[in-house]
Symmetry: C2
């Protein structure tokens, strides 16, 4: 199994190794830049090993989002999704109201 | 203006001070735990001062989400929102299909 980039350099094993292979240089760079590798390792050490892959994946996603959008990070994605949800709720409400009116009109015939 | 908790301790000024008052201990604790204050300060220093308040707010939100859900953090919220969007899109599609069928039936009368 490959060692992570940091461990390779320090010639040691770390908790991150099984979840992010050493050739994923970009993902490492994002993790190091946003969280610092020590914080990532500490967070990983505090959760169950069965959940560490999901944790590394979500940390990588957050880190990349922060690099792409330094001001909002994943919160920018959450805000976009909220607007999308509001738009869909509004459209659904309009369609359901129109359907209800048609069905109400029919039942009066 | 109050100094941030870290700067208060070190008796110095930092870039974080105007955006997160010293009495927000919980938010500081989350930022320190998830990102480390040095990473927060570095990210802040690299963006325009006019956007730093939004940046601190989004970092606080991300940090709190990671403390509440150490495995998924804000990615858990994004996944929930994606499921909600899919459900709404599906419901809207059904309602619009029903409306189209009713209107098509009417136009044939």
């Amino acid at each position: 199994m490959d060692l992570c980039a940091i461990c390779k350099e320090k010639r040691q094993k770390c908790v991150l190794t099984p979840y992010l292979p050493a050739n994923k240089h970009e993902k490492y760079a994002y993790l190091v830049y946003v969280f610092g590798i020590e914080n990532v390792v500490r967070i990983l050490n505090e959760i169950d090993p069965s959940q560490r892959q999901a944790c590394v994946d979500s940390l990588c996603f957050e880190a990349e989002a922060r690099v792409r959008d330094p001001v909002y990070g994943t919160v920018g994605i959450i805000n976009d999704n909220k607007r999308r949800i509001q738009y869909l709720q509004h459209s659904l409400q309009i369609a359901q109201r129109e359907l209800a009116m048609i069905k109400h009109g029919r039942s009066r015939l």
